[in-house]
Amino acid sequence: MGKEPGRGMEQPTNTSGTAASTEATPVFQLEGVTKRFGGVVAVRDVSFDLLPGEVHALVGENGAGKSTLMKVVDGLYAPDEGTVAVGGEVVEFSSPRDAEAAGIAMIPQELDLFPELSVAENLFVGRKRPRTRWGGLDWDSMRAEARERLAALGVELNVTSAVKHLSTANQQIVAIARALVGEARAVLMDEPTSALTDREARQLFRIISDLTSHGVGVVYISHRLEEIFQISDRITVLRDGRHITTSPASELDAEELVRLMVGRPLNELFTRTTSTPGEVALEVRGLTRAGEFNDVDLVVKRGEIVGLAGLVGAGRTELAQSIFGIRRPESGEVLVDGEAVKIRTPQAAMERGIFYVPEERRSQGLILPFSIKNNITLSILDRISRLGFVPHSERQTADKFAKELSIRGAKITDPVGRLSGGNQQKVVVAKSLAREPSILLLDEPTRGIDVGAKSEIYRLIDTLAKEGKAILLISSELEEVLSMSDRIVVMREGHVSGEFERDGATQERVMTAATGGREWAAPGGNGREEAGDE
């Protein structure tokens, strides 16, 4: 582990002349790129370049256009305007294959691996594979090469085991190794550390510094600012699809960076009136599900917002889903209003007044081809139906909640898939309100939505707490947790690693509890970008 990665590390490469100097030819260069989806402009007139041997961080809020821009580089999207040049020559990629041939490799957020195939084979799918003398595939040399490439990244994996049996971190490393088989000169990493533990993240940084020392350029998308200052040479900020600035990392500090990303002071975003919590509404005692969360104790009172902080993969979503009856805890108990309950299905949870707003909006929260109305009323059909029939008053009910959330952009009978991300999220919230729960589990409720919708949802959460609902707010956005919660519970690797009252909570303390030592700030959030994918 010896040397710590960081800008100190890149210094020698800089002086060696292979890297970041103004004369060096960029690995690739974007000029005035604009990309639209339907009427929505995801990226507007952005220029960006990557020099050999540098780490160029790309930052911005969710929806700022970071992922879209990288997909243009990777050949997944063709730019509507502007050009992509590689090694000084303008190119037109029609697929990631072309990008790969030009030495550009992308490691997307959702790893595109083949879960059933072995580690070794995953490195070679779609590529020329070594052959034996008699013409068959040479598995021995494929395995040897895989082992070698992984060793070069400093890891030792069983290359014959199926990728689905690996941890997320190791799958990530396989994805990186796969990207590098094509002798990449530029590697695009989209939030690579979002699911990694501290130690795994440090391993990744070591790999990155190793890459840059060999002259590979790295574009690094992340919401974790401390990380960004730790490893990058230059930082480009995008906001609402526009290029805001590009400057050396040494000339920026965290505060300035946040201001550039958000474009306004943060404190106006949140609404939180203090209230006095009432009786205990939800209590969890020693809840355990092996490999996901362990011996979790948690209390949420009426009128209280409890923030549940932690890194992605800390077991928060799994915990909430277990309370909601989606997963079955192996031991421990859940008490609602002081009474121990056995909840085995979401229906049973709803009967008890619990509702869970899932983090995966499109796959778990909504039925996209359904109308706004049918989505809002889906969870209350058992309540409003008469003799099993859906009454006409359904429309009024849906209208009421759509108005309350000011859902805009489509008629209530239009498919919810037509709405923007923010309005889709409002439908998910409207659906939960329609159920009139007394305990609300919100899992990343503002992930990937625009600022306007965010502040509306914060105002609503505040109102709900005032009405006496017990709210568990799972969020990876530290600012959100700190600003909204009465109490903050932190989870790390499946267990509760800290609990703070509102007054005693600071970014540093929460992050220390979440990471087990590593400290960083993450005002920009930790969500996925959904820059007008549809």
Binding site: P115, G136, G516
Partner: protein, 333 residues
């Protein structure tokens, strides 16, 4: 720094990589275990079961089913399905039979059968890839249409008088081993080699395992699937000549109901119906399992009319053992 819980770089899963676990991970493990159990049960309860000629007759009897299952296995691995093989076998047999009665010989009828099969397979493949129609619909439509073509071509009458030299693939043997069995085993070995040692064979797994990733990896998804459908046609063509050899004539209802047996064989064997996971050994095991069940029931004196029911029950039992496997491996969800 406390990093007691941090996973080591080497996966924990490998740490307990016992040979039992390594066996259980294989897709055909439940079917093989089930087959072994059945072999023991039948051997103990009937002394006629465990002898060479009986075992050979089992393999011979499932040769047509097995050969087609080997090819359909590839289609299912790509995430598609082919339920047109029953009618396809009939049509190939009609083609081969017509050539056999007019020209005789073995090569020409065999070529004719393969050509007819490859043509039909290519049509299936084109409709699925270029036409973008779900494969279950394409092959369902083809199941009907081909049966119609058979009746049309033959006018509803049987093809009889297949010359002996054409029948040799079904009736012949070398060193006491029947041709159907030899062909089945050779094709199995060929498919195992193709699966392990050809780019197409590997791409089949990739396309069925994660189509999105396959697209990003630049795999020729349509070509991979198209070839799988053509392969089915070719293998059905070969099987049709064996069938014709064994039956000695071609009836208009040749192959009726076979399509579902083929899919059953593949799935019982352990190839996942949703693609990406499985093996040629799985398809062979599934076909043999069906043969062993049918054979064992006869030897046990189970009345013929009950065989179908027992077969169905055992199919359900076989696929349910997969749940057991998942439990043993500790897979959640």
């Amino acid at each position: 720094m406390s990093e007691v819980q941090a996973p080591t770089p080497v996966e924990r899963a490998d740490a307990d990589g016992t040979s039992i676990r390594r066996f259980l991970i294989r897709p055909e493990a439940p079917a093989l275990a089930f087959l072994a159990a059945l072999l023991i049960v039948f051997s103990v309860s009937s002394d006629k079961f465990l002898n060479v000629s009986n075992l050979e007759s089992i393999l011979t009897s499932v040769s047509v089913l097995g050969i087609i299952a080997l090819a359909v296995n590839q289609v299912i691995l790509t995430g598609e399905i082919d339920i047109s093989t029953g009618s396809m076998l009939g049509l190939c047999a009609v083609g081969a039979g017509a050539v056999a009665t007019s020209f005789g010989g073995l090569a020409l009828p065999l070529l004719a059968g393969i050509a007819v099969g490859a043509l039909v397979g290519a049509i299936n493949g084109l409709l699925v890839t270029v036409g973008r129609i779900p494969s279950i619909i394409v092959t369902l439509g083809m199941l009907y249409a081909l049966r119609g073509v058979i009746l049309l071509v033959t006018g509803g009458s049987w093809i009889t008088g297949i010359p002996p030299e054409t029948r040799v693939l079904g009736t012949g043997s070398v060193l006491g081993i029947s041709f159907p069995m030899i062909i089945l085993l050779i094709l199995f070995l060929v498919m195992e080699l193709v699966s392990r040692h050809s780019t197409w064979g590997r791409n089949v797994f990739a396309v069925g395992g994660n189509r999105r990733a396959a697209r990003f990896a630049g795999l020729p998804i349509d070509r991979v699937r198209f070839l799988a459908f053509v392969l089915v046609g070719v293998f059905v063509g070969v099987a049709s000549v064996i069938y014709m050899g064994r039956a000695g004539s071609v009836q208009t209802n040749t192959g009726t109901g076979l399509e579902l047996q083929v899919v059953a064989a593949v799935v019982i064997g352990g190839t996942s119906i949703s693609g990406g996971r499985g093996s040629s050994l799985a398809a062979l095991t599934g076909a043999v399992l069906i043969g062993v069940i049918l054979n064992g029931l006869v030897l046990l004196g189970v009345p013929g009319i009950w065989q179908q029911a027992v077969l169905g029950a055992l199919i359900l039992l076989a696929v349910s053992t997969d749940i057991l496997r998942r439990r043993l491996l500790g897979d959640k969800a």
